[in-house]
Assembly symmetry: C2
Homo-oligomer: 447 residues x 2
């Protein structure tokens, strides 16, 4: 019935204060996070903290202290040797969300530098590294000197996160996944921003997805996360700008890995128009207005032109070549990418207007084919996936092809096609397409 009297600086004091909804002392919170990063604080005590933080919330000051401590838990990559303006971009994850793959070479072609550390796919969302590895020979494991040299020379590089960057985040994320404490906006914000703050950049662009295919299901929830992330950058003397963008349907048309790379090339070559291109252009233009003297109209025209004149595609080829991949992927993707043995059309089941496209269900159909992971240890099949061209507001006719399934077997293809058809709502009346961008969040100017 009695507890052992705690020693001075007992880490349980932090847990108890958060349990009781008190504001934590920043130094005590910092010591707790660094202690966990050094494995001096056991998982069970950190789990109790995470649950208390999930239920009671974390203030902006607490989230900022936690984020800074997570950065402090490992090494950083300042990229001090990169002379061009440096922009980092991060998406909270969606379905057919190939913006980063387009953005990096596009921004590079516009004179900016992009050193992007990416993750792998998990659940219904894809991962940039998995997509790039569908290009034969492509290496995502670049050491810091190699990464920095490539960025300075080519303008962009996309590499895997290394465990020495923000190690506390990796440990905390795994613990959150194991203890039902993932879906907390302050904990998500700390996780996202610690990884961005550990890497040198002049501007952090955040794409916070909202909708059925995103982690944040509604624009207000996404706005809360976006606003908190921007504030965390400001509190750490960095500049971040965030957009809340639509994930109520897949952004592009490809859900897979090789299929995503092929779509990236189509956008970079100016062949594919639509929402994926539009969003990549918006981010590139925003980076130009933030980091150069360009006005918004000029910035946008420059970004559009870089896609149409082949200069962005050329940067992509140079990046692929620098990272060991076959650069012919930029000219003729399917000459180097693996094609799935079974390709079956997806057909509209009736006449009508597309009213909804369940992005998460389509992402899960892609995972079912082998294009994604259920657990971190699962392998990814680069060749398989889904192409779905129907977008909200489109009119379709019965039996009209609206996409394709790329699969290993006919049975798998039929199953995935039926899941995609089930994920699309058709109605008799026309629906307007959803907004592409719900809003932008930028730092509050000092009063």
């Amino acid at each position: 019935m009695v507890t052992t009297p705690p020693p001075a600086n007992d880490p349980r004091d932090v847990v108890q204060a958060k349990r009781d909804g008190l504001e934590l002392d920043p130094d005590a919170l910092r010591a707790f996070i660094l202690g966990y990063g050094r494995a001096e604080i056991p998982d069970y005590l950190a789990a109790a903290f995470l649950m208390a933080a999930f239920i009671r919330g974390l203030s902006t000051a607490e989230t900022s202290a936690m984020t800074a401590a997570m950065v402090e838990s490992g090494s950083t990559l300042p990229f001090a040797g990169v002379t061009r303006p440096k922009v980092d971009k991060h998406s909270t994850g969606g379905v057919s969300d190939g913006v980063s793959l387009v953005f990096a070479p596009l921004a590079a072609s516009l004179g900016l530098a992009v050193a992007k550390l990416s993750g792998r796919g998990l659940g219904h969302t894809g991962g940039t590294l998995d997509k790039l590895e569908s290009i034969p020979g492509f290496r995502v494991a670049l050491g810091p000197p190699e990464l920095e040299a490539q960025v300075e020379r080519v303008g962009c590089a996309i590499a895997g996160q290394t465990p020495d960057i923000v190690p506390a985040d990796g440990a905390l994320y795994a613990l959150r996944d194991a203890t039902a404490t993932v879906a907390s906006i302050p904990l998500i914000a700390a996780s996202v921003m610690s990884k961005k703050l550990a890497v040198g950049s002049d501007l952090i662009l955040l794409d916070v997805k909202a909708g059925s295919g995103a982690f944040m299901k509604t624009p207000p929830a996404a706005a809360e996360l976006a606003s908190m992330c921007v504030g965390l950058a400001t509190a750490n003397d960095r500049r971040a700008v965030a957009a809340v963008t639509d994930m109520s349907q897949p952004l592009g048309s490809a859900v897979g890995n090789a299929l995503d790379v092929a779509e990236t090339v189509d956008v970079l070559a100016g062949r594919e128009r639509g929402r994926l291109r539009d969003l990549a252009v918006l981010f590139a233009a925003r980076a130009l207005t933030e980091l150069t003297a360009d006005d918004p109209l000029t910035a946008r025209e420059r970004a559009e032109r870089a896609l149409d004149d082949g200069s962005a595609l050329q940067r992509f080829a140079a990046m692929v070549e620098a990272q060991g991949g076959d650069p012919r992927v930029a000219d003729d993707p399917w000459s180097v990418l693996e094609r799935a043995p079974v390709i079956r059309p997806i057909r509209a089941p009736a006449d009508g207007f597309v009213g909804a496209v369940d992005a998460e269900a389509i992402g899960r159909a892609g995972v079912g084919l082998g294009a994604g992971r259920v657990t971190k240890a699962d392998p990814v099949d680069h060749a398989v996936g889904i192409v779905i061209r129907a977008k909200i507001g489109d009119r379709v006719s019965s039996d009209e092809p609206i996409g394709e399934v790329h699969a290993r077997t006919i049975d798998a293809a039929d199953l995935a096609a039926s899941r995609v058809v089930a994920a699309i709502d058709l109605s008799d009346t026309s629906h307007p397409p959803p907004l592409l961008v719900h809003g932008w969040f930028e730092p509050t100017p000092p009063a």
Copy 2:
């Protein structure tokens, strides 16, 4: 940003539901507790559950399911071979709280059977086992057959809890202590009642202490715990009655181990009057009215008489002898108990009326002498301790002896004496003694 989709019957579902304040399915909660008891559920997931349960609370149905699962996690002691009416008694822990030591032989002398599994002291509260072990030779490790045979023959036995009884409680208690989740009334109630329900009895008497020397600092908080414990018994088809009793000052006068045994003998021999005797009599009388045809007045007279005619003391001597101790302790305690080398009087610092006696501070002064434990691994010095006879409402004169310190060294004695004096408030006006019993809680009769 996404979590792994949980498998069916994922134990995280229980944690997530409690996190969100939902009512848990009893079967799912049972599986969670049993899984933790079998070490299939890791500490970190149980820690997240405990924190969620601490903050969100547990309903009566949830607490009942948790308690039953804790009982199910180990073996039970039905004591089916004991023919006399069986009563179990438990105190939530206090300072100079020797009721159990008096109650067991007293009830036995009245024809009832008491098979009591006790714990050790921790923090500022003493433990029945530690006290008994100050009697040379006394064995607290009794196997179930020996325990049952002694209860049938002598009428009472007091033994140590064994790890095969309610193992989930031991594991959960250690985890609560490590994660700042001890002070939750449903979790405390489940811990207390699981140990009582695992042992066969016809009546469970609970002494829930309230005040400065108790875990529950106020009568309302103690009442909530008492009421919940009684309900947990009812939900498991058992009968419990609880009293909320005063712990705003030490109950008896001895704080130690040998000193407590000596006081127990004084009460059992009818020599010591006062609050410790009064409370033991109240519990014994209550057991008689519950388990025999005695009316309350008769029951109380019988209990008083058993103390005054030596029959309760004789049962104590028989119990000590049955458990290997020297029965002469019942006739002349200090002929067998170890005396501390230094005994110093505690003197009133001024004239006045005793207004408050900080029981926790006096308990901690006893721990400082070596009479108790700071951590579970600490040894206990049986000889040392404090005798403090001043009670709230008493009038004292400056320099009047109000107790003694029994210590290993003069320095230790002086320090303890000064701590005891500091724990006593004297005032110019008289204070009434606090109530001994704040209230009784018994099962609600069926509607």
